[in-house]
């Protein structure tokens, strides 16, 4: 912990200025993004993002394709360099609290023919606990098995990963993130390409995380299910359109501002929203 911040991150000595007096205290916020701009090859794709994630809540990150949702998450966990701005997890820079942050990337970036089985993949989430140069002992394999059970994949522990279906692969990678026992999870489209059973399983896991007092930020594309699964929403389209509790922020006007012209879909959602609000 004695080493200084890596080059490029602003020095962490100054206290965080509170962005427009929001209720959440930035030092306790699972994720606090301040004034963040991200650019690929000098072309900014995220502008001036100011955002405090609420603790102990499930937040949906919603926006059209190419709106920068993946970029937001990757920039938060230092996988993409930030042009400016500052990101804090629980008041500290990411590299100091990595173990408290679980990141589940968008699917399909690994070599599926790699000689590992589902259990091996989950155990990778425990490597930091195991430490340098030590082998994966039985104790850690049992631990990994526990997380496979939690996502309902215990029967597939010994399968080579290419022999799993897309949804099953997704669950294995979710188990790998869970095994880390982080306090905040960033998940990039965990619901894409999964059947209803897997979707339900993931939702149950998210709810369990919330009950355990953990926060999760989940990129989600299905507007219909946003109010059902999440408490908060972050509407994004290169800039932050709106953020807050679903009941206040997930409105047809805000969605229109986020998605632009695709009205047919949005009116449908808006209709659903009014129904939901009428019910509650």
């Amino acid at each position: 912990m004695t080493d200084g911040p890596p080059p490029g991150t602003p020095s962490p000595d100054l206290p965080e200025p509170l962005p427009d007096g929001t209720a959440t205290h930035p030092s306790s916020a699972p994720l606090a993004i301040h004034d963040m701009t991200v650019a690929y090859h000098r072309r900014p794709v995220l502008w001036d993002i100011d955002y405090d994630a609420p603790p102990g809540q499930l937040t949906a990150i919603v926006g059209p394709n190419g709106s920068g949702k993946t970029t937001l998450i990757k920039a938060a966990v230092d996988l993409v360099p930030r042009a400016s701005g500052d990101v804090r997890f629980f008041g500290s820079a990411y590299h100091k609290v990595r173990h408290r942050v679980g990141y589940v990337p968008q699917r399909g970036s690994v070599d599926w023919d790699f000689p590992v089985n589902a259990l091996d993949v989950v155990a990778m989430g425990l490597y930091k606990q195991i430490g340098w140069l030590r082998p994966v002992t039985r104790r850690y394999r049992d631990k990994a098995m526990h997380y496979l059970e939690r996502v309902g994949m215990a029967d597939y522990a010994k399968r080579q990963i290419s022999q799993l279906s897309g949804g099953q692969q997704q669950r294995v990678f979710l188990a790998r993130a869970l095994s880390q026992q982080a306090d905040v999870y960033l998940m990039d489209e965990p619901f894409v390409g999964v059947d209803a059973a897997t979707e339900r399983a993931i939702v149950i896991i998210l709810q369990e995380l919330r009950e355990a007092g953990k926060a999760a930020l989940v990129v989600h594309h299905d507007l219909q299910t946003v109010p059902e699964y999440f408490d908060h929403v972050l509407l994004l389209n290169m800039r932050l359109v709106a953020t807050g509790p679903i009941t206040e922020v997930f409105t047809p006007e805000n969605l229109r501002a986020t998605y632009g012209g695709k009205l047919a879909l949005l009116d449908q959602v808006g209709h659903r929203m009014t129904l939901n609000q009428g019910r509650s």
Partner: protein
Amino acid sequence: MSSLRHPPRMSRSLCGRRRWLTLALPLVLAIPSGLFAAPPPPADDHSIAARVTTGTSGTSLSDNRIRWPGWEKISDTLLLRQYNTRIVLLGAILLGIGAGTVGTFMLLRKRSLVGDVVSHASLPGIAIAFLAVELAYPGNGRSLPALLLGALLAGLLGVLCTIGIRRFSRIKEDTALAIVLSVFFGVGIALFTIIQKLPTGQVAGLQQFIYGQTASMTSADVSLIGLASLLVIAVSTALFKEFGLLCFDEEFGRSHGWPTLWLDLALMALVVCIAITGLQSVGLLLVVAMLIIPPAAARFWTDRLGSMTIIAAVLGGLSAWLGGVASALFARFSAGAVIVLAGTVFFLVSLAFGTRRGLLPRMRRQWSNNRRIGRHDLLRAVYEMLEPHLDSAPPDASGDPLGDIPFTRDQVLSRRSWSATRLSRLMDRGTRDGLLTAVTSGWKLTASGAQEARLVARNHRLWETYLILHADIAPNHVDRDADLIEHVLEPDLVSQLLETVSARYPQMDMPPSPHPLEPGH
């Protein structure tokens, strides 16, 4: 002599299932050039450059007849009676084990050809080191430490050039590898020609870096090779978990705070280490084969990284041992060529018989699968045909009434769109397996056939009903033909399905927990 250099296109996705095949081919093509590394040619008429560019055809093969060793020599070599043989073999085996271990990670990281770049790029380093030492201490140019140091530096420079080209231009990795490899190799050959023209120019001894000559190694050389290989083996064992993570999911490793860049460099350093130490015994043309072939062969036998590494190390050590023995027995044999040849044989055997991905085991699995499906199809067809007659069958306390109803082949045929030949084949096999017996009026199920038919039909109907009622949550990777529903679904769901099915098929007696379809399944 295009076969000297392995085509760079191999570097892309070496891990694809079909692409394993393409690995061995260029290497096999490369063998004839190295197999008969001739003794040092007279310096005046055969320059190294000429030999490299025209192959060994200049020194006619018929002049170099293989001399068969006597029995005594064979047994001496195999039993390691001579100190010299023992030491040379030990070095080669350690090198093979080290190469197999590191090669596994490089193959999985799709970087196998980095070893090739290192070894080819080392040629100008060797030449420059020779010239430099010769300039300072005339007559001492052939000093191994100096030559290896030159090779090491040039090899590293080659790797750095590859990384630089990839980083700062839009050129893809395979092209960058090919550019660096051929430019460095070309410069090396030009330098060798210059050395040849020098008054003191004695390339004799330098050419072994191209083709490799295990037999000429001294025990000091061998201890260097052995030490380097042991170091490589020790480091890759210690960092096994970390290297595995790096190769499988670099981004995840990085987000967890593992120093992936340093791990990558460490892995690269191990490859450089192996490629340079292998120069002398295997030669720069073939050292990459030691890095590629054993891991590629190992992949056919296992789906786990640990066992793949061990198998690759064993195969690497084994082919190095064979190569060492051959080159000790036949003075003209290049050890490198025999090592590669042995490795290729292992590769082909693995390709054919490898238990995980080998062609024959896969065909056999497919075949037995088809057979099982056919057997179940037949039994279910017969069951469904006989079911309506079950009530009218004479009640028999001892046996299953299903086995008492005769049926004909045409009856089965009329219920299924099978060809007559397929049905005959299925029924022949069923008879052989003791499921059916021929009777005067046609066929009957045997007792075990009847039992299995009930089970198959029951399982099928339960799955069918389940899919109709709960299609949205159907587990998608169930083999509905083989997986007993009880093994996959929860008990209360199964009993609910049992009720539904029993109501629809009153004749079917639905035991709550059936015996397994096939033992051990």
